[in-house]
Point group: D3
Chain length 309, copies 6
C-alpha cells in the first residue's frame, strides 16, 4: 500500500474475494430488491477495538459499484468504543447488500490484528518505553501489506516485508555457507549496499561469534528473559538485538525490560481473530430525491482509494 | 476446489502469496546456498491438531519450483499428534527455503480451522448425534474454498458457498420486498428450480409467518436454546431449521439438543488461529547421487496437485 | 451479471473480443479519420426481434473509449420492429468505428437468443399458461451469463447456472453410486442444505424409483408427450418434473399440455442465430460545438455499466 | 492459433468457459463418483457433419486435468457420418464428467461452422471452381481464430483477421477522408507496405472511381449477380473483386459464375448452429490395472496442444 | 496503440514497470513526505531531441494516482531544444516522486528512438526525397507499438507490426517450401487476400527468380549500393524493393540514391539510447488553495490517455 | 529472478513480447513450413561480447512450444568470441522460426548491457581493485531484474532493486522533511530495521551535515574527482560513499582512484545497445528418426527454466 493507494496485490485480492463471494450473482437480492433502490448504511463497532482496514473496505464497495459513495469517518488506528460509527456508504441498495460481507471480512480481521497488536504494545510498554514490537512473515496469504499496516495501526513496527528487502541468516543458511563468518561475508558481498544483515543465534556463544564476524543485527531465538539480559550485556551496544520466539502477552514486558531494541511476535498476525464490526442500513429517508446527488459526491471522494489500478 | 485439483481462485491466491513473500528474490538464500544443492525437508506437527491444507501447501512448493517432489504422508482430516510427519519435500534446497513460509502460512491456518471445527463438532455431538455444524461466509478473503474444505476436514458441513448458490432472505430483503410472503414468492419466481429458499426470522412469530408462506428452510437468528426448542415444536417438521448467532463451545450442545438440524458457527473460520506445524530440514545424506531421481518421482506425484492451471 | 453491473467473466470476454478484433489497431480508420472528429451513431433493428444485450454492447464502446456516451433507448426484452432505434452513441468517430463490430457481434447474437426463446415460450403457452421454458448448459463459451439473461429477456427461465449451484444426477452418476437410492442419499449428505437434488430418468420405472427414493426434482429424458403425461399421473404432485430432450417448436405445446412444470430446451442457445441490428452514423450536425458536452453526459450514464471492474 | 498450438486468446476463453461452468465445483460428481475412479469416454458424431475444434476440445479436458489422455482419432476438416468416433479420452472419471459440457460446447459450434461453410463452398462450386468463399468479422466474441479455422476446415478461406491486418475503406471512411481518391492515398501513405487496400463500393460508378484511384481490391456491396457481372467486365482484371452482402445458399452459385474471385458470407459464422456430437462413457473394463499407464501416454500426446501457455 | 488510446500490451507493460519499481512501496517518500502535500513538476528536455512517448509517460502517472493532472505541452514528434518544458504534472507530491523514474524511463528511451530515426531520415533525404526509412522487429520486448510510434514521430515509416500482418519469405522458408516459386504460391494460397507477399533474396539471380514468380515486394539482403542499383534496373518497377542489412548513417544516402522505395534499419530501435529528459519540481507556491482544482482539470484531460482499460 | 527460476514479471514480459510479435500467428511459416518438420538451430555470437540472458531466451522458446529442447552451452557472464555457439535448440521448425526474433531481442539487449558493464568495470579497475560499479533504476520498463542480472554478469554490482528495498533521501525529500537531520530521523523511525539510509548531497557542506546526522551511506551527486577525493578525506571512513552523475568510461578510473566504495553508472542500462547474436538453422540431418527423442531431452532440461509459473 502506498499512501492512500492500494497496491496491486491487494487489488487482486479484493477481486478474488468478490469473485468467490458473488458467484454468478446475489440471487436473493436480485429477487427481492428493486435494482434502482437507494440505501445508506453505516459500519459500526460492536466491541472496543483498534480500527484498521477502512480503506480496503471502502475499495471493496467501490470496486463492486463505482457509483457507491464511501465516507470514512474515523482514521486508521483509531481506538473505537462499541457503537462508534466508522464509515457511511450510500448508493444502490443492491450493491450495499452484495458488498457487505466481503468488506466486513477484511475490516474485521484487520482491526483484529490492530487490536491484538495494541495489547502487545501496551504490555511491552510496561517493560520499556522504547522497545519496538515488530511483526513477522506469518501473515495471511495475500494480506501481507494490509496486515503490516494493521500492525502499524496498533502501534507496532514492521520487520522486513519479504525475502527481498532484508537479509536474515538462519541456521540452514549458516550450515550451507559453512559457518557464521562465511555466511556473513557472502551476504555482504551479494546483497546491495542498502540492506543490513541479520543473523539468528540460539545462545550466547552464537552471539559472540556473530558479533566477532561483524553482524549488524542479531536475532536471539527462543531465549529466556535472563539469557536475553546476558546477551544485551555481552553485546555492549554493538549490534541491534531482536528477541524472537515464544513471546506472549505475559512475558513481553520482561523481555522489553532487558533493553533489547526489538521484540518480534508472530502472534500479532497468526493469532489474531476478528473483532466485531457490522453494517447497519438506515431506514429509508423521505427525501429519496436526494439520491441522484450521491454519484457526484462519490466521484470526488473515492478515486484515490482505488489508486493505480 | 474440484477433487484433488485446485480451483482458479486458490491458484491465484498462491501466486499472490508467493509474490508478496518473495519480492525481488530471497537475497539471503541467494547469498549463502549453492543453487544446485539438494535438500529434503519434513513438515511436522508441533501440537495436537486436525490436518487440512496439505494439497495447497504442496502446490505452493511445486508452483515455486516444478522440480520439487512433494509427498503427502497423512490424509486431509487426519488427527495429528505432536511429532507426526505429515509431508516430505525434496529438491533444490534454495526452493525449499524460499517456499517454506508461504506453504506453512496456508497449512497452519487451514489446520487451525479444521481443529477448531472439530472442537465445535465434538461439543455439538454431546447434544445430538445428527446435528450439522455448518460454516458461514465469514471466511478469509480469497480462502473461501480452502476454509470450507477445512471445515469438512474437521467434521463440519458447509453452508452455501456464496451469494449465488442458495437463497437466504434476511431482514433487509423482507423490508425491501414488503413482507415475508412477497419476498418468498419473488424468490421462488426468480431463482432457478434447484435452489432452496431460506428465510431469517427473529422470533416465533416470524417463524410462524415463514412457515405459513411455505419457507423450506428457516434461520433462527440469535435465539436462546429455549426459544429454539419452542421453534422446533412449532415447526412440526415442516421446514429445515438452522440456529445462527452467538453459538459458542459452551452453548452448542444445548442448541443441538433441541433437535434443530443445523447450527451455523461463524467462529469456525473467523475465530480460528494458526496451529503449529513447521518444516525441518533433514541433514544432508551421504548419497547425493540419489538426487537426480527426485524429478522423476515428482513428475509422477505432483501434476494432479496443480490441476487445470 | 449482477443488476446493471457486468460480471468479471463478461468483462474479460469483452476484452478478449476487443483484442481479437483490433489487433495492432484499426489501420483503415487511422489513415482516413481525423482522431479528433466527433460522430453520432444509432443502433437500429433491421428485422422484428426481442432485444437483449444492450448493456454489454454499451460496455464494449465504453471499454474502448471511456469518453464515449452510450444511451440505451429501449429496455432489455423489448419487442422491436424494423427501424426501431435502440441506442445512440456519440463521441470520437474513430472509436465508434472501431467498436462497432464487436458491440454488434454481442448484441446480434444475444437478441437472437431472446428472439428464439420468445418463439418457444409463445409455442409453449399454447399448451399451458404456467409451464416454465428453461435453458441448458449448452451455451456459447464465455457467454453463459449473457445468454441466460437473454433467455429471461425472451420470457424463458433459467436452469442452474453451472455444475455448482444445483445437483443433477445423470446415468453415469447413478452407475457410479450404485443406484438411484444411494446416489440420492450421497448427494443429500454432501451438498449443502440449500441445493435441491434432481435425478434424470429414462422411463416410468425410473421415475417410480426416483420418487420412492425421495427425489425432489425429476428430469424426464427423451420421453414422448404421452409418456410424460403418464409420468405426471404417476408423480401425483410429489416431485417437480422437467421434460428434456428433443423438444421442438412443433412439440413443445404438447409437452406443456401434460402439466409438467418445466421444459428445458437446449436449442434456445445452441440453435440461435444472429438477428439483424446495425449501426448507422448520423450525418455530421452543424453544431459541433455541442460535442464537448458529451463526455459529461457519459460520465453520468455509463459507470454503472462497467460495474466492479 | 499457431500450428497445433492454441493462441493466448483461445486459452483465456477456455479458462472463462471452465470457470463459468464449474462454479465452486461439480457438486453432483463430488457426491456420487469416487475421486480415484478411472473412465474412458468417446466423442461420437450423431449426424453428418464436418469436424472442427477437436484440438480445443482436447485442450479443455487437459486444462481441467493435465493427467487426462486425449486422443484425436479424426483430422480437422474430416467429413463425419453418424456414429463416427472422433476422439477418446481416458483418465479420472470425475474430470471427464466435469469437462464434458465445455468441450462439447466448443466442438459442436465449431463443427457447425465448418459444416455450414462446406455447404456454401459446395454451392459456390456449382458456379465456379476457383472462387474463394471467405468469412467476415461477424464471429462469436472470443472465438475469432477458432471460427476462422473452422471456416478453413469447411473448405472456405479467411478474410482479414481483424482491423489491423488489412485496409478496408468503407463509406464512412470515404466521407471522412473526402472521397475515394483521398482515402486511398491516405491509406497507402499510412499503412505499411505489406498491406493491401480494399475499397467498398455500392455501384459501377463507385467501382470506376475506385479503379481510377488505383484500388487493389474492391468490395462490391449488396449488388445483384447481374451488377456483379457488369463489374467484372468493367474491371478488366485490374483489381481483385469481392462480392459481399445478401449472399445465400440459393444465390452463391450465380455470384460465383460471374467470375469474381471472392464471395464473403457473414452467415458462415453468424448463422451457424451446433451440430450434434456427444460424449459416451465406455463401460468400465475388467483391467483397471491398466489405468496407471494413462498418464504416461498423456505426457507424450498432449503438451503440444497447450502450446505456449 | 489506437489513436490517443493505449493498447492492452502497453497498459500491461506500464503495470509491470510500476510493479518492479515500487516493490512494497516507496519507503523514502513514505518517511519524509506528507501524504497530503501537493506538488507541481515539469518534464524538461536537457539536450536536443525529438519527442516521443509523452502519452505513455502521462499514463504512468495517472495509473499510479488517477488524481494526478498530467498536461502535455508539446506534440509527439516535436523537435526539442534543451530547456523546453514538455509536460506539467500536478497533484500529490508523493505520487509525483513515486512515478518519476518509470515515466522517464519510457519517455527517455522512446525519444531516443525518435531522435535516432530523425537522424537516419535526414541522412536518407540527402539521397532521395521519397525513400521510406522503415523499422524492423528488433524492438524492445513489450514496447513494439510504442517504439513503432516513436519511429513515426522521428519521420520514419513502419514495416509490418508482427508475424501476422504481412508475409515475408526468408531463406529458411524457401528451403522448406522447395524454392521461391513454390513458397510464393503457397503463401498466396494461404494468406488472406489483403496481405502482400515479400521475398528475401541475396543477389540478382534471386531477384530475377522472385520477379518471375510474381513477388510483389522483394527484400534485398545485405547488398552494396551498387548491387542495389543493379537490382532497381533489373526490377523495372515491377516489385517494391526494400534494402535491408548493414545500413548505417554513413551509407543510407547511397542506398536511397538508387531509387529503392524502402530502406529498413534495425538500428532505429536496437541501437537507440536514452536522451536526457528530466523532471523538476517547482517550488511550492503560496496559493496552495488552488490544489483542489487539479482533479477537475485532470478529469477533463486524461481519461482518453488510458483508453479502453 | 530467483536462482535459475524466472520471476513473475519476467514471465509476464515474455508473454507480452510473444503476443506482440505473433499477432494472429506466423502466416509466412504457416504457408511454407510443414507443421511436423523438425529442425535444429544454434545461437551464435557475431562479435566479441559478454553473455547474459540465455535463460530468458530459452524460456521464450519453451513458452512458445514446451516440446522444444533448449540447451545452454555457455554460462551467464561468459566472454564470447565471434563464432561461439552459445545454445542449441531443437524441435518443431515452425516454433523455432516463430520464437527466434523475440528470444534474440532479449538476448542481444541483455548481452549488450553485460558487455557495456564489463567495459566500465575494466576501466574502473584501472583506478581501484575494490570499487563497486553499480547500476541505477534507469532500466528498460519490465526488464529491471533481467538487466540487473546482466550487470552482475558483466562484473558490476547492483544498487537497490526498487523504491522499497532501500532508503535514498534526495533533495526533494530533504526539503519536504525540513532538512537532512529530520529527514534521516524520520527515515529511521519509519523504515524497518534491516534497511540502511542513504542521503544524497551536492557538496562537502552537505556531506558534513549528513555525517553529523549519522548517515550510513552518502551519495555524492555530480562532483568532480577532486571534490570526491576531498569528500573521502572528510568522511574518515564513517559512511559508505557513492559517486553518481556524469561518470563516463573516460572518468571512472579517476573516481575509483579516490577510494570511494561505490560508483553508480546509469549508462550501464540506459546507454547499452544490442550486441550481435543470431540464430542459424542447421541443415536437416539424414537421421530424422532421431526427432522423437527430443521431447524427452527437453523434459529433463527445461522445466527449471520456467520455474514457478
Amino acid at each position: 500500500m502506498y499512501g492512500e493507494m492500494l497496491d496491486p496485490i491487494t487489488r487482486q485480492l479484493i477481486d478474488l474475494a468478490l469473485a468467490e463471494d458473488l458467484g454468478a450473482g446475489d440471487v436473493t437480492t436480485a429477487a427481492t430488491v428493486d435494482p434502482a433502490a437507494h440505501g445508506v448504511g453505516e459500519i459500526i463497532a460492536k466491541e472496543p477495538c483498534v480500527l484498521s482496514g477502512l480503506a480496503v473496505a471502502g475499495a471493496v464497495f467501490c470496486r463492486l459499484d463505482p457509483q457507491l459513495s464511501f465516507q470514512a469517518l474515523r482514521p486508521e488506528g483509531d481506538r473505537l468504543s462499541p457503537g462508534t460509527v466508522v464509515a457511511r456508504i450510500s448508493g444502490r441498495l443492491a450493491a450495499l447488500l452484495a458488498g457487505e460481507r466481503v468488506a466486513l471480512n477484511f475490516l474485521r480481521r484487520l482491526s483484529g490484528v490492530a487490536t491484538l497488536t495494541a495489547r502487545y504494545v501496551a504490555a511491552a510498554r510496561a517493560g520499556s518505553a522504547r522497545v519496538r514490537v515488530v511483526d513477522t512473515r506469518k501473515t495471511t496469504p495475500g494480506m501481507r501489506s494490509l496486515e503490516k499496516a494493521a500492525v502499524r495501526a496498533g502501534g507496532g513496527c514492521n520487520h522486513r516485508f519479504h525475502l527481498g528487502d532484508g537479509v536474515l541468516i538462519k541456521d540452514n543458511h549458516i550450515v550451507a555457507a559453512g559457518g557464521i563468518g562465511p555466511a556473513l561475508a557472502r551476504a555482504r558481498a551479494t546483497a546491495h549496499h542498502l540492506l543490513k544483515v541479520e543473523v539468528e543465534v540460539q545462545d550466547l556463544a552464537g552471539l559472540a561469534e556473530a558479533l566477532q564476524a561483524g553482524a549488524e543485527v542479531v536475532l536471539l531465538d527462543n531465549m529466556s528473559p535472563e539469557q536475553v539480559a546476558a546477551a544485551v550485556a555481552l553485546n555492549q551496544g554493538r549490534a541491534l538485538l531482536e528477541v524472537s520466539g515464544g513471546v506472549t502477552l505475559a512475558t513481553i514486558a520482561a523481555y522489553a525490560r532487558t533493553g533489547v531494541q526489538l521484540v518480534s511476535v508472530g502472534a500479532l498476525t497468526h493469532a489474531a481473530t476478528d473483532v466485531d464490526l457490522s453494517l447497519e442500513l438506515l431506514p429509508p429517508a423521505a427525501d429519496d430525491a436526494a439520491a441522484p446527488a450521491a454519484p457526484l459526491l462519490h466521484r470526488q471522494s473515492t478515486p484515490a482509494d482505488w489508486g493505480a489500478d
